[in-house]
């Protein structure tokens, strides 16, 4: 479904490239994990996929349509869920959902149904009239996700959606994402939690310094992973550390 071909990007002609020759094929309905240390280029890649940074022609295709064209992009029905709580804390859950549905052009007749659908998928039905700022960290994460579901996306871009929440909320969010995948949504998922990616994703890419270092299924990646010295088994984390070197990153 998503095809990225030789994608190069730098923020200015004089700056060093942030993405270098990215090649990726992400099949439809895939739960695709994108791993990389800080500064690897994940956020830039997500920004290009989300349309925040214009991509050069012939580099990014969704269902065969070139995403450098605005009309194709709006037809792609994608949704970005940023890592931050990207909503309005003084507004209620319902007001937030109403606003984000409104700016995405959801017709008035469908508004109520969409809000209840997104709230239902994320377990927020009982909190619609609560102020977003008063919600717990887990509920805020769920609201962040619910907003991303309002346009019934075919492609969902999740940037670290489980940072800083309790295990129950984390489990709920992962289950929701799994369900979305089963219902036909393609998900691109970035996280620093290797276990989450192992548990959730059927396709994984590890990137660093703007390049894709490895890509494949979990089984394929684990086959070339060195043994974890503590657990004496091959893990995604040991492969990640091996590929991206063990030095500390900013």
């Amino acid at each position: 479904m998503i095809s990225i071909r030789q994608l190069e990007f730098s923020y200015s002609p004089a700056a060093r490239p942030v993405l270098k020759g990215i090649d990726l094929e992400i099949p439809e309905n895939a739960l695709f994990g994108l791993l990389g240390p800080n500064g690897a280029g994940k956020t830039t890649l997500l920004s290009i996929l989300a349309g925040l940074i214009p991509c050069p022609a012939g580099c990014l295709f969704v269902d065969g349509r070139d995403m450098s064209e605005a009309d194709n992009r709006s037809a792609a029905r994608l949704s970005l869920v940023p890592q931050e709580y990207a909503f309005y804390l003084p507004l209620t859950v319902r007001e937030n959902l109403t606003f984000f549905a409104g700016v995405q052009g959801v017709p008035k007749a469908e508004l109520g149904a969409r809000i209840h659908e997104a709230a239902g998928q994320t377990g927020l039905e009982g909190r619609l009239d609560s102020r977003a700022g008063k919600l717990s960290g887990g509920l805020k994460r769920r609201l962040n996700l619910a907003i991303g579901l309002l346009n019934r996306p075919r492609l969902l871009l999740l940037d670290e959606p489980t940072v800083g929440i309790d295990p129950h909320s984390r489990h709920f969010i992962l289950e929701t994402i799994r369900q979305l995948g089963r219902n036909g949504t393609t998900v691109i998922y970035t996280s620093h939690y290797m276990e989450e990616v192992e548990e959730l994703c059927d396709q994984i890419a590890i990137m660093d310094h703007g390049q894709i270092l490895r890509k494949g299924t979990l089984t394929e990646l684990l086959a070339e992973a060195p043994q974890n010295t503590r657990r004496r088994e091959s893990t995604l984390e040991s492969l990640f550390l091996d590929l991206t070197t063990r030095g500390l990153r900013d």
Partner: protein
């Protein structure tokens, strides 16, 4: 639901949930208008309400000195306060702000007056404003000159009766303000002045919202939903434009109804109040565009609050909001003429004070719209640059 409708509704909801913002935009200017209107009322209106109290000590007894004392007591707005106190005690009372000034008729008053020597001494209390001091000085001097002439010409038949005429009878006073005889007052200065101050203070809530959106990734999310810079900025301009117009209505209502109710002068709107709408619209566009630029050139809410606060106060101080321009020296008035608040204030004064027409406001309206266009261009340029730098 339209995109613009959603953006406007969100912005107004955020403002309604921000008590500090409401305090800043509505309560602060209302309080300023009330305080400053009453505080400066006497500075503008030399009406019967104004009394310049003084003590008089006569150290000479003659027909001329008695005539001087009597006429001085009857001279408006001077008000002789009777006292038995001596000169030293009078000075102590003036120090304590009991009266504005002291008048002493010197011994040998008649001779001194005829020889054109200082026959009267005036001592001003420390807190007497220079305006009041000059009024008192002028009245005393006028009276002394009249007495001198009366004395000199007393022997000439047919002249004396004309000298008995009061100064007011010899002078016809008219105002260019309007035909009703209404005079500009403190409320005419303070309502538009503090209104403009408040309008430009929308920079604080507007930049707070915009910076929060940037920091929390909401702006990123909106952009990923296809909301471009024009829609985003229009989504700020329109609601805050509406807020500015609500400020205009609220402050003008205060001037029209609340201040007279509390005993102050009523705001009069001039013969062409439609000009006020034009100036309000132009001032609002200038204020909103300025606020957008503040949000774009600052990174944190603290920075935005400081930058907008400092610039607003400088613009207000130079623009004649805090101190009326006519009280400033020429150089300060020239510097102040670069302040957008001065343009707005002059536009309002064209209608409220000078009884002008819509055409009279066009130079100020043009300057405000030019300022708004410049601010908007800089905002869009900065927004695009920031977006390109940070994705």
């Amino acid at each position: 639901m339209g995109v613009m409708k959603a953006l406007i509704r969100k912005e107004l909801l955020l403002l309604l949930r921000d008590p500090h913002g409401l305090l800043l935009l509505f309560v602060m200017p209302a309080v300023f208008v009330l305080i400053m209107t009453f505080a400066l009322q006497n500075q503008y209106a030399m009406s019967s309400d104004v009394h310049l109290d003084f003590y008089l000590l006569s150290e000479h007894d003659s027909g001329l000195s008695r005539a001087f004392a009597r006429d001085l007591a009857n001279t408006s707005p001077l008000n002789r306060v009777p006292t038995e106190a001596g000169w030293e005690e009078m000075q102590a009372l003036a120090q304590a702000d009991e009266v504005k000034f002291l008048v002493r008729i010197k011994p040998g008053f008649d001779d001194l007056l005829i020889q054109r020597q200082p026959a009267v001494e005036i001592l001003f209390a420390p807190g007497t404003s220079p305006v009041f001091a000059s009024v008192a000085e002028g009245r005393v001097m006028e009276l002394l000159n009249r007495l001198y002439l009366r004395y000199r010409l007393a022997s000439m038949p047919g002249v004396q009766s004309s000298l008995e005429a009061q100064g007011e009878d010899l002078l016809e006073t008219r105002s260019l303000y309007d035909d009703s005889g209404a005079m500009p007052s403190s409320v005419q200065q303070n309502v538009p002045a503090w209104l403009l101050f408040a309008m430009f203070f929308i920079a604080v809530p507007l930049s707070t919202t915009l910076i929060n959106e940037r920091q929390q990734g909401t702006l990123l999310r909106l952009r990923s939903m296809g909301i471009g810079p024009v829609k985003l900025l229009a989504g700020k301009v329109v609601p805050y434009f509406v807020v500015n117009l609500v400020q205009v209505v609220v402050l003008f209502l205060i001037g029209l109804y609340l201040i007279p109710l509390l005993g102050g002068d009523k705001l009069t709107l001039g013969a062409h109040p439609e000009g006020l709408i034009l100036v309000s619209v132009a001032a609002s566009l200038a204020a909103v565009s300025y606020a957008l630029l503040v949000a774009q050139i600052t990174s944190t809410i603290e920075q935005a609050t400081i930058v907008s606060g400092v610039f607003n106060i400088i613009m207000a101080a130079l623009g004649g909001v805090m101190v009326p321009s006519f009280l400033m020296p020429e150089t300060m008035q020239q510097i102040g003429s670069f302040s957008p608040m001065a343009w707005g204030l002059n536009g309002f004064f064209d209608i409220l004070l000078r009884n002008g027409t819509v055409t009279d406001t066009l130079p100020e309206v043009g300057a405000l719209l030019g300022f708004a266009a410049l601010m908007l261009c800089l905002t869009v340029w900065r927004y695009r640059r920031r977006a390109a730098e940070h994705g």
